[in-house]
Symmetry: C2
Subunit: 379 residues, 2 copies
């Protein structure tokens, strides 16, 4: 397992160091208030201040660096004020490595319907109790400032895909105005702020969004929108467009993407950070990543399979438990099964990122990508 | 945390060593194929070859010694043959300390209705899929032999409470015949077999049951029946009756009892082993043991309580997490909350047993019992 480069650093904002490039693929380090970590990296998602089924010790064991928490969920429950009184998210959830919070925008647009978008912000109903809520760029930043994550996101509209050019343009322009308002409201010296490149599926809007954000000099840049994560070809083009005008000395974060193949495609295009609920959600449904593709642990053929999920994997699950036992736990609806698969699936992606980093440093990223792709079957 | 006395011993059957008595309270050791452990002890329940929400590393961290697994559940799923092919329960679930299996009797009588009891055995329907099943003393032993636990139980009828004298007598006599049949069918040199004292709520039947079982020279003796676990006064009397004629050189196991106060009452009467689903079930419902009684973590008063559940507790939960965070997890239905509370509740009982053992060794058991009772509020 790769060692972390260092512990808590003295800097207040994050600092990205580009150390090596292989094509557009970047190897670097990210200095944060909670240690320095290597990129490209995959970030597990801890929606409600917990990466579902795991604890922080297990996260460290799989070599997790930055994790993501959801502003929308934590705003609703337990509330940013309670987290703040606990001493911030790190203290609240007992995780001493970096935490990134999203803006709440994605959840507002996906979970909380109906919604009413105005220049001021978004009116919507809580998915928990139907309560009327109003989220603005300033409010999103205020919540994140209180959550005290290491990295906060600008409030944005996650443009639906497909969207008309007219809609995408209007939304992207408004998202930029929201980014400016959020930046002006920002008030936490220990926290960094990312701008989010939107623009829907339109090349010129992606360029425009990126260039305008860069003028505002954010600490890093995210690539967002539903056109990222729908069909693969569109996603890859959007990454190319979004990244073209981003500065090389700031980290780039592709939001909500974590399919193994997309990690390679993203890194190839210059992405440094990824997150996705996919590996833990798959785990809870009994699926496991392997180098030969995803497998469904409920399959009867594993009933008497007393080998580990992946003999080469160094995770706690693979070192200690057999497919037959994990199948039994999943079929019997025992949460330990979901936990063991979550550990494995996250470790699988984090291990890929470790290998990717090594391959970039050795100028053989495309070779490693080819080896992986040849074996991994999309299921 | 108390260290285990030793690792795997050479003996094939368990051996109980009575080392000190304080009144009827016994301090001793239990030598097993998977190490030697101190008694009195509390055994966590791992119904489906997993102590719900926990893994084996966590069990060791709370100083768990023997754990219990349920024959009925494992027979139905994944089946004793699969566990046997895995190399037995220890290997299947990756637990290298002793495992005790029950006979399936209790589950047949509680979960699987309707039932049809004959001299031969019990006909009933699976609680999973309604399949017609037939469990006999021989079959229960055969399953347990294959599961390869360290300690197996004789198949018994768990007499309802209340029961008429006539019913209790007939059932107790049949349970003895079943014990004999099970003993004759027993075929595992690495496993020990306990007889179960029944007799319902009737003093003379308890005496009779115990005396007859002792003639058969079991490796240990359990105290069973629904009259154990219903009203406290009856339970305590039944323990006294059942134990009166049990030999001092064999362990006594009070089945299905794990309320903190009952641990003290049982030990006071000479019980060495206890098990109960109570601590883990309470945990899954958001309740935690404290020295001042049980608390409900959903209570709003814990919203901003940034202290641990018990400042004196040495468990992973209390050392790392606050009430506010655990409350959040429980309210948000995150399984980590159930896990942390399961760790705490089990450690709470296991710690009580550690203290009880010390108090017996120091001839101050009743004093410690008094201190505990004075503080612990029954809720």
């Amino acid at each position: 397992m790769v060692e972390l480069l260092s512990g808590r650093s003295g800097s207040m904002k994050i600092k990205y160091n580009l150390l090596h490039q292989d094509g557009k693929a970047r190897y670097g380090t990210l200095e944060t208030n909670h240690g320095t970590f290597e990129t490209p990296m995959f970030m597990p998602v801890g929606t409600q201040a917990t990466v579902k089924t795991l604890d922080c010790r297990e996260l460290k064991e799989i070599n997790s660096a930055v994790i993501l928490a959801n502003t929308y969920h934590l705003w609703l429950r337990p509330s940013e004020d309670i987290v703040n009184k606990a001493g911030g998210l790190h203290s609240f959830m007992n995780y001493d490595r970096p935490i990134l919070t999203d803006s709440g925008g994605f959840q507002v647009f996906s979970l909380a319907k109906p919604k009413d978008i105005t220049e001021e912000g978004v009116k919507f109903k809580s998915h928990l109790n139907g309560e009327n809520l109003f989220l603005t760029p300033e409010k999103s930043i205020e919540i994140q400032n209180k959550l005290d994550s290491d990295i906060a996101m600008s409030f944005d509209e996650c443009i639906p895909y497909p969207a008309t050019y007219e809609y995408a343009k209007r939304s992207t322009e408004r998202t930029l105005r929201w980014a400016i308002r959020g930046k002006n409201a920002f008030n936490n010296d220990n926290q960094s702020l990312f701008g989010i490149v939107q623009g829907g599926e339109y090349e010129d809007l992606r360029y425009w969004s990126a260039k305008e954000l860069v003028k505002l000099d954010f600490d890093g840049y995210s690539i967002g929108g539903t056109s990222v994560g729908e069909d693969k070809e569109t996603m890859y083009k959007m990454i190319d467009y979004a990244i073209k005008y981003l500065p090389s000395d700031k980290p780039r974060y592709l939001m909500g993407v974590g399919d193994p193949i997309d990690l390679f495609e993203g890194v190839m295009r210059g992405v440094d950070m990824f997150d996705c609920v996919h590996p833990t959600r798959l785990a809870r449904h009994g699926h496991a990543f392997t180098l030969d593709g995803k497998i469904n642990m409920k399959n009867a053929k594993y009933k008497e399979d007393f080998t580990s999920i992946d003999s080469e994997c160094d995770c706690y699950c693979c070192k200690n438990y057999t497919k037959a036992y994990i199948r039994h736990l999943i079929v019997a609806n025992e949460t330990l099964g979901q936990r063991l698969l979550s550990i494995h699936n996250l470790r699988f992606l984090i291990k890929i990122m470790e290998n990717i980093r090594k391959s970039i440093q050795n100028d053989r990223f495309l070779e490693y990508k080819g080896e992986f792709m040849n074996r991994y079957k999309i299921k």
